[in-house]
Amino acid sequence: MPKKSYRQAINEALRQEMERDERVIIMGEDIAGGMGAPGEDDAWGGPLGITKGLMTQFGRERVLDTPITESGFIGAAVGAAATGLRPVAELMFVDFMGVCFDQIFNQAAKFKYMFGGKAVTPLTIRTMYGAGFRAASQHSQCLYPLFTHIPGLKVALPSNAYEAKGLLIQAIRDDDPVMFFEHKAMYDDEWEVPDEPYAIPFGEAAVTREGDDVTIVAFGRMVNMANEAADNLAKQGVSCTVVDPRTTSPLDRDTILETAEETGRVVVVDEAHPRCNMATDVAALVGQEIFGALKAPVRMVTAPHCPVPFSPALEDLYIPNAAKIEAAVHEVMSGVHARAAE
């Protein structure tokens, strides 16, 4: 199978869906670039070149550059989705959600319910998240827990290029508003990605490693850290299952609970801030639903409760990594936590 970068996979998904369905349009700041400028058209393709070439193929009518006006154009995407188009809007960095969240969580997410079921809002919002780019506090956050909290939204977190393509195609074909999170530190990484279009259904986790001792549930880029940890641990004789839920909303509770039940030990890995995040979400779920099967406390590996620091020295300490996951796995294996008498 051909190898493609995360960037290419996303570009390909957009291109194929735009070819398939003319209602699909894309919009965002410099998603092509060069509007009104004397030099090259399609000058950017987004700040990191993800949408490069789409304007050339589909024209400015379907690849819309916008002023810097996130409430305006994200809201326009919502309105267009409610009236017959299938827009894919780019919120450049998810950190910018603070200037346009209303249109996402009060409008798009609630239309269907508030209107008694009579709205369909097939909106996709692509956005960059995550630390590791030395982009500092306002360009490095995860924030998907905030969107996961909101009923009416779906949230996809592809952990590799294969998932990026398949989940983005599903997002575009999906009739509900979807937040699609792209980790900026993965754009250049390559995976095997089929050329033909395919959709990965939402709410179906991938099990990337199978083992008997510990279940690691990891999100987005952290799946790769978890895989790395699992491979290291295998050499040390600890065998891990790694679950990549792919979407946080809907969440594949069944796969998480089944694999957790099999091993009886769970580590949840989330790059997000530690409070009210996916780690707590999954840990609480597991604790409530399969308590009886647990042999050890569910441990959470997350970023600490502080903004993302700029200095590379600090940022490297900030991000969860394979070593921290391994340490957590060893902890749940060690059985230090005694069990209360029945």
Partner: protein, 322 residues
């Protein structure tokens, strides 16, 4: 362009129906029969109807928290609206939305909106959709004077202009946002603000149906022909409080009474059409009686309708599998 006798009668009927709807709700709220926040449109009917007369189902409007009038003007079923406001299962939104979220997308009514300034970005999208799909449609946002200060509104002006969208912004300036006068909160003026974006502005007396109708005609024609957005600044008055329960102490004594006596949109309309011999008083009286009867019927049916059952709580959250 000329309004036919039928058009005129229709316009009057719509305005009167809105007035009856709102007056009835005022009574009902005072009697403790309606829960929640209810914002009434009474007094502003000429605006919603004067604009929406030019629109059909391919055209979209986005409304505000004060949405009943826009809904009726855009063709939403008043019977189902009434049930909605009572939280009944047969409400236009199954009772899930209530007064602040009445919508009917099949009529191009994109919803009342609980968020001040929520509508303008949405109609940029509806306008874009119409343009893209070449339906010939336009999209209209109703914007309060208070909402005209919200950043989302300005962003929408600029977006509509640079994308050259068939979008119309109707600023319904009733002089107040809650208890705050627009004389204080709106610096500059609506027309100057539009000029800031090179958007043409039209100022009209919002009590005068014909002035609104003519302004809307011009704006909507321009939009349909690809001429881009227009702002219409409509000065008018609301007759009731900001929401039901508001004691309205911030207005001058007699302020509303004076407007009712001198500029009521239904009264002005009646004068104009009877004096010009376009409609006779009897036809209008008949319309008044019909409107009243219709609202009475809506009310009694809504009150008798059943509430939604538990089964409805978790439906309509998502369209596809979840």
């Amino acid at each position: 362009m000329q309004l036919s006798r039928d058009d005129l009668l229709n316009a009057y009927k719509r305005m009167r129906l809105i007035r009856e709807f709102e007056d009835a709700l005022h009574e009902e709220f005072s009697a403790g029969n309606i829960p929640g926040f209810v914002h009434l449109y009474a007094g502003e009917e000429a605006s919603g109807v004067g604009v929406c007369m030019h629109l059909d189902d391919r055209d979209a409007i986005a409304s505000t928290h004060r949405g009943h009038g826009h809904c009726i003007a855009k063709g939403c079923d008043e019977r189902a609206m009434m049930s909605e406001i009572y939280g009944r299962a047969d409400g236009l939104c199954g009772g899930k939305g209530g007064s602040m979220h009445i919508a009917d997308l099949s009529k191009g009514m994109m919803g009342a909106n609980g968020i001040v300034g929520g509508g303008p970005p949405l109609i940029c999208g509806a306008a874009l959709s119409a343009k893209q799909r070449k339906t010939g449609g336009v999209a209209v946002a109703f914007v309060g004077d208070g909402a005209s200060n919200q950043g989302t509104t300005f962003e929408s002006y600029n977006l509509a202009k640079v994308w050259n969208l068939p979008a119309i912004f109707v600023v319904e300036d009733n002089g107040y946002a809650e208890a705050t006068a627009s004389a204080w909160s709106v610096s500059g003026s609506q027309a100057k603000r539009a000029a800031g974006f090179d958007i043409p502005a039209i100022e009209v007396d919002g009590h005068d149906f014909f002035a609104v109708w003519e302004a809307a005609r011009e704006a909507i024609e321009r939009a349909r022909e690809g001429g881009g957005p227009t702002l219409i600044h409509c000065r008018l008055n609301r007759y009731y409080g900001h929401f039901e329960g508001d004691a309205v102490t911030y207005k001058a004594p007699g302020e509303v009474e004076k407007v009712k006596a001198e500029k009521d949109c239904l009264m002005l309309f009646r004068q104009r059409v009877t004096e010009a011999g376009l409609l006779d008083a009897e036809a209008l009286d008949q319309a008044d009686r019909e409107a009243k009867a219709r609202i009475d019927q809506c009310l009694s049916e809504a009150k008798a309708a059943p509430a939604p059952t538990e089964a409805a709580l978790l439906t309509d959250v998502y369209t596809s599998a979840y």
